[in-house]
C-alpha cells in the first residue's frame, strides 16, 4: 500500500439533500467517482427544502456540461423555461423598468467598450435607449428565444442564457443522477454531530433512531440551520443586514401564465421586492422583505395581490439573516449552500454560489494527512465572491430615487462598502467600469444596473472622439437594425420550448 492511498479520504458524508446537497453529490460522483470514494448523503423527507422555483445564471450550463447532462432532458424533467435576464421594476422609481440581460450591449469598437461610444452618442441625442443594443434584452421584451447560433459576427452568437426551473424537481433529477453513479443515500434526521476530541474534527453524525454515520470529510448542506459548520463547529457568522436589511420572505406558487416569459421579474415593493419565476407548469413567486418595516401578514397580502394567477399552495414564510459564515471550510467540514451564508436571490446567485463552492472544493480536495491545507485559499476566494455579489446587490438598494417609504429612505441614505463607493465614483466621473479579478458580474451587468437605476456617467473616454459622430451614429443604427432583424427571426419562447424541451 502506498502512502497516497493510505492517506486518501475514503468516505465523504453530505449532510442534507436539497439543491445544494444533491448538486454536490452529483458533481462528486461524476468528477471524483464513487469507486474512489464512498459518497454518502443523509437527508430527511421530513425537513422541507427552501427550493421555491429557482432562477439561475448562465454559468449553470458549465455545470451541466461537466456532468454531461443533456440540457433538453434536464429541462423537461424540471419544468424549466429559458431565462435571458432579470427585469427590475420600480427600483429606481415607481413605474420604471429595466432588464439586466445575460449578454453584452453592442459590440466593442476598435477594442474600446461599446458603452463609451454609447455615452458619447447619448450626449449628442443620437443614441437609442441602452436596451435597444442588447439582443438578450430585446428578445426578452418580445418573449422570444433561441439558443445562441453560430453565425460569425452576429449578435445571435453573442448572448447567454440560463434556466428557471423547479428546484425540488431539480434535486430529484440530480438525486437520480447521483444514485445511479453510486452515491448512497440514507434517510434520517440528524440528531447530533460527534467531534473527535483531539482534533476537533467531525467524526460522525448520529441520526434519530440511533444510526451513526462516520466519515472522513463532511459537507454541510443543511441550509440555514448549518448543523455542522455552526451547530457543531461554532464557526461564526458575519452579519450584513445593515446593508441588506431584508430578513424574511414569503413564497407561494401560482398557476402558470399562458406564455411563460424568458426572464425573471423582480418588482420592488415598499419594504422589499417580489420575484416572479415563470416555469412550464406554474409560476414561482415570493416576496422578500424587511420585517422591521413590514409585518408578515402585510407582506403576504402584498404578495397575493400581485400574482398573475390563482395561488396553488399556501404562502410560506422564511426567515433569514444576510451575511456569511466566518469560515466556509472549517476543519474537515465545508459548508455549501445556505449553510455557508445568505444573499437574497435578487440576482439569482444562490445556485451559482453552490456551483463555485463545489468546483473549488474539487480543485482543492484534501487528503487525510493535509486536511486543512486548501482551506485558507478556499475561504479567501469565497469571501471575495460573497463580497462582490453583496456589493452588486447593495447597489440595487442604494441607487434609488424612491422616497415613498422608510425602507427606501434608509437604503438610499445608508453607508455602503468602500469598494462599491469607488466603483460608482469611477463610473460617474469617467464612464469606466472596472472589473476586479474574476468578479462574477462584469461590465454589462454593472452598466445595466447603473443606467437602469439612474447612475449616469458625466464623461466618456476621450479616445472615442477619434470616430466621426456621423459614422458612429450610422454604425449604431445599423447595429440596432441587425438586432431587430435577429429578434424578428427568433421563435417565440413558447414555440422554442415546444420544439425542444416541452415537459411531458
Amino acid at each position: 500500500m502506498d502512502i497516497m492511498s493510505d492517506n486518501k479520504i475514503k468516505k465523504i458524508v453530505i449532510a442534507g439533500g436539497g439543491t445544494a446537497g444533491w448538486m454536490t453529490a452529483a458533481a462528486l460522483s461524476k468528477v471524483l467517482g464513487c469507486t474512489n470514494y464512498d459518497v454518502h448523503l443523509v437527508e430527511s423527507e421530513e425537513i422541507g427544502t427552501i427550493g421555491v422555483g429557482e432562477a439561475t445564471i448562465p454559468h449553470i450550463q458549465k455545470f451541466n456540461q461537466i456532468l454531461e447532462i443533456d440540457e433538453n432532458e434536464f429541462m423537461k424533467k424540471t419544468q424549466a423555461t429559458f431565462k435571458l435576464g432579470i427585469e427590475f421594476i420600480n427600483w429606481k422609481k415607481i413605474g420604471q423598468s429595466y432588464i439586466h440581460p445575460f449578454g453584452s450591449y453592442g459590440e466593442d469598437i476598435n477594442a474600446f467598450p461599446f458603452h463609451q461610444y454609447w455615452l458619447k452618442l447619448k450626449s449628442s441625442g443620437l443614441a437609442s435607449s441602452l436596451e435597444s443594443y442588447s439582443i438578450a434584452t430585446m428578445a426578452a421584451r418580445h418573449k422570444k428565444f433561441t439558443r445562441p447560433l453560430n453565425i460569425n459576427g452576429s449578435p445571435l452568437s453573442d448572448f447567454g442564457y440560463a434556466f428557471q426551473f423547479d428546484a425540488g424537481r431539480y434535486a430529484q433529477f440530480l438525486r437520480g443522477y447521483a444514485e445511479a453513479r453510486g452515491v448512497v443515500r440514507t434517510e434520517g434526521k440528524i440528531s447530533s454531530v460527534e467531534l473527535c476530541e483531539n482534533s476537533g474534527y467531525i467524526k460522525s453524525l448520529s441520526l434519530v433512531g440511533g444510526a451513526v454515520i462516520e466519515g472522513d470529510f463532511f459537507i454541510d448542506c443543511t441550509g440555514i440551520r448549518a448543523l455542522l459548520i455552526e451547530g457543531a463547529l461554532k464557526t461564526g457568522f458575519e452579519d450584513w443586514s445593515h446593508w441588506l436589511p431584508c430578513n424574511s420572505a414569503v413564497a407561494a406558487p401560482c398557476e402558470k401564465i399562458e406564455e411563460p416569459i424568458p426572464y425573471t421579474r423582480a418588482t420592488a415593493h415598499t419594504a422589499g421586492w417580489q420575484w416572479r419565476i415563470p416555469l412550464q407548469h406554474r409560476t414561482g413567486n415570493g416576496h422578500v422583505y424587511a420585517s422591521q418595516y413590514m409585518s408578515d401578514d402585510e407582506a403576504t397580502g402584498v404578495l397575493l395581490k400581485n400574482l398573475d394567477g390563482a395561488v396553488i399552495a399556501d404562502p410560506r414564510v422564511i426567515r433569514f439573516k444576510t451575511g456569511r459564515r466566518v469560515k466556509f471550510w472549517n476543519k474537515n467540514c465545508v459548508a455549501i449552500g445556505l449553510s455557508s451564508g445568505f444573499l437574497e436571490p435578487l440576482e439569482s446567485t444562490s445556485i451559482h454560489l453552490i456551483q463555485t463552492a463545489i468546483s473549488k472544493l474539487i480543485n482543492l480536495f484534501p487528503s487525510r494527512r493535509f486536511m486543512e491545507d486548501g482551506a485558507e485559499l478556499y475561504n479567501k476566494n469565497t469571501v471575495f465572491e460573497y463580497e462582490r455579489i453583496r456589493d452588486f446587490l447593495i447597489l440595487h438598494y442604494k441607487a434609488t430615487e424612491r422616497t415613498d417609504s422608510d425602507f427606501w429612505n434608509y437604503c438610499r441614505s445608508m453607508e455602503i462598502p468602500e469598494y462599491l463607493r469607488e466603483k460608482i465614483k469611477l463610473y460617474v466621473s469617467t464612464g469606466r467600469i472596472y472589473r476586479e479579478n474574476e468578479e462574477l458580474f462584469s461590465t454589462p451587468s454593472w452598466l445595466a444596473v447603473f443606467e437602469g437605476q439612474g447612475i449616469q456617467a458625466e464623461e466618456y473616454h476621450p479616445a472615442v472622439d477619434s470616430m466621426p459622430l456621423a459614422e458612429l451614429a450610422e454604425r449604431f443604427k445599423a447595429y440596432e437594425q441587425v438586432i431587430n432583424k435577429c429578434i424578428d427571426f427568433m421563435p417565440t419562447h413558447t414555440r422554442y420550448i415546444a420544439d425542444n424541451c416541452k415537459a411531458e
Binding site: L149, G153, S154
Partner: protein, 497 residues
C-alpha cells in the same frame, strides 16, 4: 449544292479561332475557307486570356483533348476570378465556377445568406462555393459521378497563352482544309450593293469570296470600309482609354485570375504555367501614363523596360457586326476592355452564332438581322455585367472610381439593380452570357446586399438554417481539402505534353 467560299482576313487569335471553327463545322465541298494573313500584329489581346467554361465545350466540339491543349498552350486550370480589395479594403472574394450553396426547401440559397447577413453574419460568401474554396486552398480536381449526382459541381476554364493558342487553332484549321494566303490588304472590290467581291492584296493578288470575316482586330480594316458601318464608342459606359500589359514570372497559383482596383482604373493578372500577364487598364484623365507605368511595374514586380508603352484602347462596339457580306469577329466587333477575361468567349460565340444562322442557300438580310439583333442583346448584357463590376468596385472612391457611380446604365441593368436591392431577385433577361447564379454571387460577394430577404423565409427555423449552412461550408472545405494539389495535377498534365 454549290460550294461557298469564306474569306477570313487577319492573323491574330480571332482569325485562327474563326478558321478552326469554320473548317470544323463544314466539309470542304460545302464551304471553302481561306485565311488571308497580313502578318502584322493584330490589335487584339495576344498574351493571355481565360474565357469561361464554354471554352471547354468549344474544344470538345473540335475534338481537341484537354491534355493536348494544356500542354501546348502553357495553360493552367481556372476556378474563378479573385476580386482583391474590390468592394472594400481587406475584402477578397473569389467568384468561382461553381454553385454558391444549394437550394433549401425550394428557396434559392442566397436568400438564406441574405437573411443571415441581416442578422449580422459576416461569413464570406465564397465559403459556400466549392470552386472558391478549392482555389483558396490551391487544390484542383475532377468530381466523381457520385458527387455530381449529389448536386456538387466544380466547373473550370483554362488560362491559355494566346499566341500558342493561335498556333494550335492554326494547326487544327490547316489539318482540316484551311487555305492560307500571306499578304496585306490593299483595297476592297465592292459590288454595286456594297458587298465585298474580293480582297485585293498589295501583291496584286485578288482573293474573291462569297462571305468575309473581318478578324483584323480593332483596326477593323474590312468592315469599316463598308457603307453604313458605324462604331459605337462606350466612352461614357466604360470610361477607360489606356492599357499597359506586362509579362512577369509564374505566379504562386494559377487557379484564379486576379482583379484589384487602383487609382486610375483596375489591375488584373492572368497566371500561365510559366509566366503571368499583368495588366493595368486606366483612364488617363485620372492617372498619368508615367504614374500608371510605375503602378503597373510595381504590380507585376518586373523591371522597367522601354519596350512597353501604354496602349490606347477604345471601348465600344460596331453598331452592326454583320454588314453586307462581311462579319466582324473579335476586337473588330467590339472591345470590352477585358475586365472579365472574356475575349476568347466573344470570338467563339460570334463564329458559332454565324454557323448557327448560316444556310446552304447563302446568307441574306434575315440572317444578318437576326445575328445583329442577338449579338447586340448579348453585348448589351455583357456591358451591363462589366458596368456592374465597376459599380461594385468602391474600394477607392478617389480617382477613376469617383466617376463609376455616374456611368450611364441600361434600363435592364437598372432593373436588375433595383429588383435585387429590393428583394434579392435577379431580373430575367433572355440573352445572358452570365447565368443568374453568377450575377448573384458577384453582387453578394462584393457586398451588394438586398434590403429584404425573401418573405417566404419569414418564420423559418433559424436554428436549422444556421446548422444547414454550417454543414454546407464544412462539406465544401472538406471536399476542397480532398482534391489534389494544383502543382501535382498540373505536373501530370505536363508529362503528357
Amino acid at each position: 449544292m454549290t460550294s461557298h467560299r469564306l474569306v477570313i482576313y487577319g492573323g491574330g487569335v480571332s482569325a485562327w479561332v474563326t478558321a478552326a471553327a469554320l473548317t470544323n463545322a463544314y466539309t470542304v465541298d460545302v464551304l471553302k475557307v481561306v485565311l488571308v494573313n497580313p502578318g502584322v500584329n493584330t490589335k487584339e489581346p495576344s498574351i493571355a486570356d481565360s474565357g469561361f467554361t464554354s471554352l471547354r465545350r468549344f474544344h470538345a466540339s473540335m475534338r481537341i483533348s484537354e491534355r493536348e491543349l494544356m500542354g501546348q498552350t502553357s495553360a493552367t486550370f481556372k476556378l474563378g476570378a479573385l476580386y482583391k480589395n474590390w468592394s472594400k479594403p481587406g475584402q477578397n472574394f473569389i467568384h468561382g465556377f461553381s454553385n454558391y450553396g444549394s437550394m433549401l426547401d425550394g428557396i434559392d440559397f442566397h436568400q438564406y445568406a441574405v437573411l443571415l447577413h441581416q442578422c449580422g453574419d459576416t461569413t464570406a460568401f465564397d465559403a459556400y462555393s466549392l470552386a472558391a474554396q478549392a482555389a483558396a486552398a490551391k487544390k484542383f480536381g475532377f468530381l466523381n459521378k457520385d458527387l455530381v449526382e449529389q448536386g456538387f459541381n466544380l466547373d473550370y476554364s483554362l488560362h491559355v497563352d494566346l499566341s500558342q493558342y493561335s498556333q494550335l487553332m492554326q494547326t487544327c484549321a490547316v489539318r482540316k482544309h484551311l487555305e492560307v494566303i500571306c499578304g496585306q490588304l490593299d483595297h476592297l472590290n465592292l459590288d454595286a450593293d456594297g458587298n465585298i467581291k474580293a480582297l485585293v492584296l498589295t501583291s496584286g493578288e485578288v482573293v474573291g469570296g462569297d462571305f468575309f470575316f473581318d478578324c483584323s482586330g480593332s483596326d477593323s480594316v474590312l468592315v469599316r470600309q463598308l457603307p453604313g458601318d458605324k462604331f459605337l464608342k462606350w466612352d461614357k459606359e466604360l470610361p477607360v482609354n489606356k492599357q499597359i500589359d506586362l509579362v512577369g514570372g509564374a505566379a504562386k497559383s494559377g487557379l484564379c485570375t486576379d482583379l484589384s482596383v487602383c487609382r486610375g482604373g483596375w489591375l488584373k493578372s492572368i497566371p500561365l504555367k510559366d509566366k503571368t500577364l499583368y495588366s493595368l487598364t486606366y483612364n488617363s484623365e485620372y492617372e498619368s501614363d508615367d504614374a500608371a507605368m510605375t503602378a503597373a511595374i510595381n504590380f507585376a514586380g518586373v523591371e522597367l523596360s522601354d519596350a512597353v508603352q501604354p496602349l490606347t484602347i477604345v471601348p465600344g462596339r460596331r453598331e452592326r457586326f454583320w454588314v453586307k457580306n462581311c462579319l466582324a469577329i473579335g476586337a473588330a466587333a467590339g472591345n470590352f476592355t477585358e475586365l472579365t477575361f472574356s475575349y476568347l468567349h466573344h470570338v467563339q460565340s460570334g463564329v458559332l452564332r454565324f454557323i448557327d444562322l448560316y444556310s446552304a442557300a447563302g446568307v441574306n438580310d434575315f440572317s444578318a438581322q437576326q445575328y445583329n439583333q442577338l449579338t447586340s442583346d448579348e453585348y448589351a448584357r455583357v456591358l451591363d455585367y462589366q458596368q456592374l463590376n465597376l459599380l461594385l468596385g468602391a474600394a477607392e472612391s478617389s480617382g477613376f472610381w469617383s466617376c463609376t457611380s455616374k456611368i450611364p446604365r441600361t434600363a435592364e441593368l437598372q432593373r436588375k439593380l433595383s429588383l435585387f436591392k429590393e428583394r434579392g431577385k435577379l431580373a430575367f433577361e433572355e440573352y445572358e452570357t452570365w447565368m443568374p447564379g453568377s450575377w448573384v454571387s458577384l453582387l453578394l460577394g462584393n457586398n451588394y446586399w438586398p434590403e429584404k430577404h425573401d418573405v417566404l423565409l419569414n418564420g423559418c427555423n433559424l436554428e436549422l438554417v444556421v446548422k444547414r449552412l454550417g454543414q454546407m461550408r464544412m462539406v465544401n472545405s472538406n471536399l476542397a481539402a480532398q482534391l489534389s494539389d494544383e502543382d501535382e495535377i498540373l505536373g501530370k498534365y505536363a508529362i503528357l505534353k
